[in-house]
């Protein structure tokens, strides 16, 4: 197993590539989700304020 | 004839006005009133085609100005918050070249005379850079006066002008309109425009 992960001495290069791909895609997804949550948060607050005002 | 139908304008996510309709015929003037931030400047820029309205149509002699483009621009002069003067050039050169860009060839003598009428004859050979606020305004106004277009769109033309200049300018506007021209203008100052054919529009509440 350990030998397999060693990738014939190319572990750094192979896992470095796959790792960076994973990190990039993951970060993109997480940032998108955070962006969406903050918008919806702000929006619902805005709507609540507006409803309170009109009431 | 300028006619506006059901015009609406937005900036950012703020609706400035909507469902605005009016007409300006030859020999008529339109005075746009409203507090700061009401959308007067936005309306005037929309009338020039510089701002795209959110809804509605602006027509010149029945055709949409966005289709007419150059044919409409030939009829309009716009005087905005910016003077459109080149700091390096003298007052005279500014007016001559400014008119040249708009496709009007004028004689220097006519420009000199107009600058004199506006009380800035001594500015004609000074670079605009060194002029005072009011002097710059007057030089910029000379361009509008000489362009010979039927429709003048003037955004607060009286700011920075002294009492005498306000008087001269308002008489020029009156003269233009009574000779069959059109004018759309805004001003916060209480200027006595001696016109019978003037319509008023009030935009927005304060804020």
């Amino acid at each position: 197993m350990a030998e397999y992960f060693d990738m014939g001495k190319y572990a750094f290069f192979v896992w470095g590539s796959y790792g960076m791909v994973a990190v990039c895609l993951l970060v993109e997804v997480l940032m998108l989700r955070r962006r969406r949550r903050t918008i919806l948060h702000q929006l619902s607050r805005m709507i609540r304020i507006k409803e309170r005002e009109s009431a | 004839m300028l006619s506006v139908q059901a015009l609406a304008c937005e900036r950012g996510d703020k609706k400035l006005f909507d469902n605005l309709s009016f007409e300006v015929e030859a020999g008529h003037a339109l005075h746009v009133h409203g507090p700061n931030g009401a959308g007067k400047t936005t309306l005037l820029r929309a009338l020039c085609g510089l701002v795209a309205p959110a809804a509605g149509r602006i027509c010149w002699d029945g055709e949409d100005i966005h289709d007419l483009r150059e044919d409409y621009f030939r009829k309009v002069s716009y005087f905005g918050h910016l003077n459109a003067l080149k700091d390096e050039l003298t007052g005279l050169e500014n007016v001559v070249l400014g008119l040249g860009l708009a496709g009007h060839a004028v004689e220097e003598a006519a420009v000199s005379e107009m600058l004199a009428r506006l009380g800035v004859e001594i500015c004609q050979d000074l670079p605009v850079k060194v002029l005072s606020q009011g002097q710059k305004k007057r030089v910029a106004l000379a361009r509008i006066m000489l362009a010979g277009t039927p429709l003048w769109i003037l955004d607060e033309p009286f700011t920075a002008l002294d009492v005498h200049a306000v008087d001269v300018l308002s008489r020029m506007i009156v003269e233009h309109v009574t000779n069959g021209g059109m004018a759309v203008l805004t001003t916060h100052q209480d200027v006595g425009l001696d016109l019978s054919q003037v319509r008023h529009i009030h935009l927005g509440k304060r804020g």
């Binding site: - | 020039c48 085609g49 510089l50 701002v51 795209a52 150059e70 044919d71 621009f73 030939r74 309009v76 716009y78 905005g80 918050h81 910016l82 003077n83 459109a84 003067l85 080149k86 700091d87 390096e88 050039l89 050169e93 070249l97 400014g98 040249g100 860009l101 708009a102 496709g103 670079p127």
Partner: protein, 221 residues
Amino acid sequence: MGALRSILVRDLTIAMRRKADVLTVLFFFIIVVSLFPLGIGPEADTLRTIAPGVMWVAALLASMLSLGRLFYNDYMDGTLEQMLIAPQPLGLLVMGKIIAHWLLSGVPLVLITPLLGLQYDLSADALLVLVAALLLGTPILSFLGAIGAALTLGLRGGGALVSLLVLPLYIPVLVFGAGAVDATVSGLGAEAHLALLGAGLLLSLVLAPWATAAALRIAFE
């Protein structure tokens, strides 16, 4: 045509009123070209190899630097909005401005190049080709640059932003321009490179003013 002429006259008059502008672009070019020997060391062989590349990069940067002037002043003082509502085709006015820009920023570089080439010990042949390539290439820089300048108009940080947009587009010019000289030096003949530069010039002459005019309208919406 009248529009093109009147805007050319205007821009050149203003430039003559402020000669410093023209001279500074020129001196920027001279200084950048002269900085390299200082940073790299005085070996004649190395210098001769890098000369075309350095000159072209310096020309790119000089042209790009002067893009700031192209529309910004007109934008700030309101002249540009008057141009947008002038009863003349905007593309023509833009063309006039670009030609003025090239006359004021491109031509001086081309003229000074032979002198600078001597610093780098270039042969007469190579110099001739370099000048020809610059003559064909610098107007392309002005045309492409105008698009970038129009797109970034009025945005803060515009100066640096425009370089980000424009430099990648300049790369083919750089490659063919520097390539022309290299080809001459290695005896291959520069015709192909120069022909490609000429084709690029024609293409950008036709398309760029139109794209720039569109970008200017967008900037004002």
